[in-house]
């Protein structure tokens, strides 16, 4: 019984995570300027990735695989925001200004 429940939960997490990843990707495509697109990326990095990895962890059970998945999630939580920070910093230093009019399409 518990097994089936865990299975269903892991499928929900996996598919939900994949959907969030797709949403983030569409956001990256559709948002008007660079800085707003960065927000869409963070959906992928945190929520989407977290849900997919959690779903896989439930499938993996108590094995080395789960430990590796946890490590991946741990590193992603640190490296994703760092990369985005570095990018935003580089963009700002180079003189890229945020677009304030949301009608403008990138």
């Amino acid at each position: 019984m518990l097994d089936i429940l865990l299975d269903i939960l892991s499928w929900i997490l996996l598919l939900g995570g994949a959907l969030f990843l797709l949403t983030g990707a569409i956001g990256v495509l559709r948002f008007p300027d660079f800085y707003s697109r960065l927000h869409a990326v963070s959906v992928c990095d945190t929520l989407g990735a977290g849900m997919v990895l959690l779903g896989l962890m439930l499938q993996g059970g108590l094995t080395l695989v789960t430990v590796k998945l946890m490590l991946i999630f741990y590193f992603m939580v640190f490296s994703g925001p760092t990369a985005v920070h570095a990018l935003a910093e580089a963009a700002q230093v180079s003189g890229l200004d945020p677009v304030e009019d949301d009608r403008e399409d990138g």
Binding site: W11, L14, L15, G17, A18, L19, L21, L22, G24, A25, I26, V28, L29, F34, R37, L38, V41, C44, D45, G48, A49, V52, L53, L56, Q59, G60, L64, V65, K68, L69, L71, I72, F75, M76, S79, G80, T82, A83, V84, A86, L87, E89, A90, A91, V93, S94, G95, L96, G106
Partner: protein, 88 residues
């Protein structure tokens, strides 16, 4: 189920690739590359489970550990230069 997740991630990668092509600035491309990197890590993990041999997660781990280094390199190139024009 893994198949559906794989397809969704592949579509997300394709969408991100469009942003990498369109630009318009270099940073958009780097950001898109970064996102595709994250998606690749997850796709490697899902593919491992789909093929029944999930112990090869080391590839995903390598990506997570070192893929942001090239982003930092872009920052280091740009902090001392002040142009961002990147039109084709």
């Amino acid at each position: 189920m893994y198949a559906i997740a794989t397809i969704l991630i592949l579509v997300a990668i394709a969408v991100g690739l469009v942003r990498a092509f369109r630009g318009p600035t270099l940073f958009d491309r780097v950001m898109a590359g970064n996102m595709i990197g994250t998606l690749t890590v997850l796709l490697v993990a899902v593919l491992g489970f789909m093929n029944g041999r999930p112990e090869f997660l080391d590839i995903a781990l390598v990506y997570v550990l070192i893929s942001f280094i090239s982003t930092i390199a872009v920052l280091r190139v740009y902090v001392s230069r002040h142009d961002h024009a990147d039109t084709d």
